[in-house]
Each structure stands twice: as structure tokens, then as C-alpha cells.
């Protein structure tokens, strides 16, 4: 009986938790930049196609949380619209597009 808005909520929450876990790691790695060689060792590791795929996953998560968050802001701060399902579809579609865009750019 769960409908679109419930699943949109779940995706938003799960992507948010995943990003909250990833963010400290991301900051730690960037902190290596004081020593270029150390950062380059990590970046070389990311040349692995599987790591790139995982990064595409992160891009999708970030894009999902962004579009999902804009949807929530629109729902809460905008005028109420009964077209909630279309907004969810647009949010999800844009996030997937960002993921494919990353893959296209990374493997180009």
C-alpha cells in the first residue's frame, strides 16, 4: 500500500545516510592534498573501472539527495500541487541522468 511519496522519502533518507557516512572519508582523502604524492596514490586507485562505477553510484546518491531535497523544499515551501508523482519522476530521472553523465565522462 506504500505509494510514490513514501518510496521517494525512503530513497532520500537512504541516500542521505550513505552521504553522511561517505562525507568524512571524502574529507579525509582530500586532506591528503598537502602531500601531492599521497593524493595521487588514491586517485590512481580510482582509475580502476570498478571504483569508477562505485563513484558513479556516489554521484547518483548525491544527485538523488539533491533532487529529492529540492522536491521536499518545493512540497513544504511552495504552493501545494497534486502533481507529486510527476515531481518524483523528474527528481529520479535527473539523478539517473547525472549518473550516466558521470559514466560517459569517466570512461570517455
Amino acid at each position: 500500500m506504500r505509494r510514490g511519496p513514501w518510496w521517494a522519502f525512503l530513497l532520500h533518507r537512504l541516500s542521505g545516510v550513505a552521504l553522511a557516512v561517505f562525507l568524512p572519508v571524502h574529507f579525509l582523502v582530500l586532506g591528503l592534498a598537502v602531500e601531492r604524492a599521497a593524493l595521487d596514490r588514491v586517485l590512481d586507485w580510482t582509475d580502476n573501472p570498478w571504483v569508477k562505477l562505485a563513484e558513479a553510484g556516489l554521484v547518483v546518491l548525491l544527485a538523488l539527495h539533491l533532487t529529492g531535497g529540492l522536491r521536499v523544499l518545493l512540497l513544504e515551501f511552495g504552493r501545494w500541487s497534486d502533481r507529486q508523482q510527476s515531481r518524483i519522476a523528474v527528481a529520479g530521472g535527473l539523478a539517473l541522468l547525472a549518473g550516466f553523465g558521470f559514466l560517459a565522462a569517466a570512461f570517455a
Binding site: 545516510v17 554521484v59 548525491l62 544527485a63 531535497g69 513544504e76 558521470f102 565522462a105
Partner: protein
């Protein structure tokens, strides 16, 4: 009204993050073409007031946004509530802030 204030902080930080994340996603898609290297990243960021401001603001907003979101998830799904949770989340925010500012300092 602690809860009302946290709610407002969560939404304000979201409004700040939205354009920054969009910019970040664009940069990621642009930068990933042809692989990443420390030189390439640092050439963009070093000495740049613009990127310093963007990422500094990003870190600040994320350090507010992520702990409030995580607090809601832990309260609702893990039944962890009360002062212990609040302290843990405040610490999480401070860790994010410290790691994030360290990362920004490293790439500037």
C-alpha cells in the same frame, strides 16, 4: 523551541547546499574526463578565493545538515533519543567541520 529551530537550520542549510551541490556535480562531471590527478585538482583550487569560499560554505552547511538528518534517522529507526544522541550528533557535526576545513585548507 529546540525542535523548531533545528528544523529551520536543516532547511536553511539545505537551501544553501542545493546550488553548491549542483556546482559540485557539474565540476565532478567536468573534471573526471581524462582521469583525475592531484596537479589538475590543485591547479584549479590553489589560491582561488572563489573555490575557497564555495567549499568553505559547503563544509559549514554540510556540518549542520548531516547531523540533524542523521539524528532524525537514529531517533526513528534505531530508537536512540535524548541527550546522548544530541551530544553524539553535535560531535559528529564538529568532526565533519574539522575534517572538512582541513580538506579545504589542503587544496587551497
Amino acid at each position: 523551541m529546540k525542535e523548531a529551530w533545528l528544523f529551520a537550520a536543516q532547511r536553511v542549510s539545505a537551501m544553501v547546499l542545493a546550488p553548491l551541490v549542483l556546482l559540485h556535480l557539474g565540476t565532478v562531471l567536468y573534471a573526471v574526463r581524462g582521469g583525475l590527478s592531484a596537479d589538475e585538482i590543485l591547479a584549479r583550487t590553489e589560491g582561488s578565493l572563489f573555490w575557497g569560499a564555495v567549499y568553505g560554505l559547503f563544509v559549514l552547511a554540510a556540518a549542520v545538515h548531516a547531523p540533524i538528518g542523521l539524528r532524525a534517522v537514529l531517533g526513528e529507526w534505531c530508537r536512540w533519543r535524548g541527550a546522548g544522541l544530541d551530544i553524539a550528533m553535535a560531535l559528529f557535526g564538529l568532526v565533519l567541520l574539522a575534517l572538512g576545513l582541513r580538506a579545504v585548507a589542503a587544496v587551497l
